[in-house]
Amino acid sequence: MADTFKDTVAIIQFPGVNCEYETAAAVRSVGLDADLFRWNENPELLEECMAVILPGGFSYQDRIRAGVVAAKDRIMDKVSELARKGRPVLGICNGAQVLVESGLIPGIHWERVDLALAPNVMMDREGYYCNWVFLRNEDSRCIWTTAFGTGEIIPIPVAHAEGRFVTEDMDILEEMKQNGQIALRYCSSRGEVDDLFPLNPNGSLENMAGVCNPEGNVLAMMPHPERASWLRQVPEDLLGSWGRKRWRAAGDVSKMEMEGPGRRFFAAVLSREGVK
């Protein structure tokens, strides 16, 4: 860990995460430094970092429930404190589960658990689901999606067994909508929001794929932007413009190294001024 890392994004390594290196590479691809920060390091060292990312994979083997054990870790005291001060915090997949179990998302009542990421509900199957899906960037307060236009369609991979945003408290859901906290919704390649599998790959309420806090600095998203940060990661047969772009780039190494649709999630942090 660097002594000082004001231009550095800290990527928290809980026991069992497995996407930290790809996430660090994606962060570096937009000109930032990325440091892997072990969960048992001195949390005060996070104070100097410009943003915190909780990457995907597993934490503590997802024992009891995905994300819940990590949510109680001492390092999350510091992440919670930084988030409250306005520091950008992004949770991807298991990181999103940690943020939800920490009560940082939806964050209407700070640290109160008002949402769950429940097991997927899919037609004629259960458990883990891995595929490319489409997201629609919603009109929200989220700082992590500012590099996308409202309504822009973002192809991106999902890979999870527990990614269904649900709540038993419909007042909270209504408040989230009014606050502009639903940052990303699952949709078709043309941007139509439909609740049916596989457009909604896990049965999430309101097709929610990414939810931010009321201030917009914390985002929990189930899809993996780091797996869509280079054009070479995009499947050739993907519907829409990104698939066509990838198809045209086939065989040209320099073109394959160009940016993919997910990279702008990380670029958003670079463009933000006055990080507290």
Binding site: I64, R65, V68, K72, G103, V113, P119, V121, D169
Partner: protein, 221 residues
């Protein structure tokens, strides 16, 4: 005849899920003053209909022993109980308490209570799937009203049973980052399916637990 049937399953080896839950409750949520033990089971409860209790027991036992969706003989202990029809399996629930309870129990004021808390997913089709799976394999026995989930046996100190039961809710339901652990109320629910006051058996001078030391009068709730 119709009978209530329960299947309890736990690992033969050290259960890292319950170990992690224990460590989290004691070290991160600082509940060590009250908690005395934690055991984790997979659980299925159902109504079964067959000609008699013995038929129900043997038929369901035949299926759950062979189907890895329920048990795996290489790694699980299980107990299958048919109300009024006996039980089978190598798991002895009545004595399945952590070994350190007795010694601590000697000096406790109030009492030590054990609660079996069934945690289930709300609005899930998993239970329907298990029911279909069983009915497709059973001969001359059918099952209905199946509940599936995990049971946390939480052993806790309390002045009385009511106080201990109230504490159980706080431990189980995750209300915030600093409260509760074992379920998320936005997709899971729980019920206490039995409770036990652990009492030292009079004729056991060593007051051992988990073997013959405790006389757990199990009370269904």
């Amino acid at each position: 005849m119709k009978a209530r049937v329960e299947l309890w399953v736990r690992l033969k080896v050290v259960d890292l899920v319950s170990q992690t839950a224990w460590m989290t409750l004691v070290e991160k949520l600082e509940l060590g003053d009250d908690l005395r033990g934690l055991v984790h089971y997979s659980y299925w409860g159902m109504d079964a209909e067959g000609s008699d209790g013995m038929t129900i027991l043997s038929e369901i036992d035949r299926v759950v022993r062979m189907d890895s969706a329920f048990t795996n003989q290489n790694k699980h202990l299980y107990r299958l109980i048919v109300e009024g029809g006996g039980s089978t399996g190598d798991l002895v629930l009545e004595k399945d308490f952590p070994m350190n309870v007795a010694a601590k129990h000697q000096s406790e004021r109030g009492g030590i209570f054990s609660f079996d808390c069934l945690v289930r997913e709300l609005h899930s089709n998993r239970e329907e799937g298990f029911k279909k799976r069983l009915n497709a394999r059973l001969k001359a026995v059918s099952v209905s009203d199946l509940k599936a989930g995990e049971v946390w046996r939480v052993i806790i100190r309390g002045r009385n049973e009511d106080e201990a039961a109230k504490r159980i809710k706080e431990i189980i339901i995750t209300r915030s980052r600093r409260e509760g652990l074992l379920l998320n109320p936005h997709y899971q629910g729980f019920e206490i399916i039995s409770s036990t006051r652990l009492e030292k058996e009079r004729n056991d001078p060593k007051g051992r637990v988990g073997t013959a030391g405790i006389n757990p009068a199990r009370k269904r709730v």
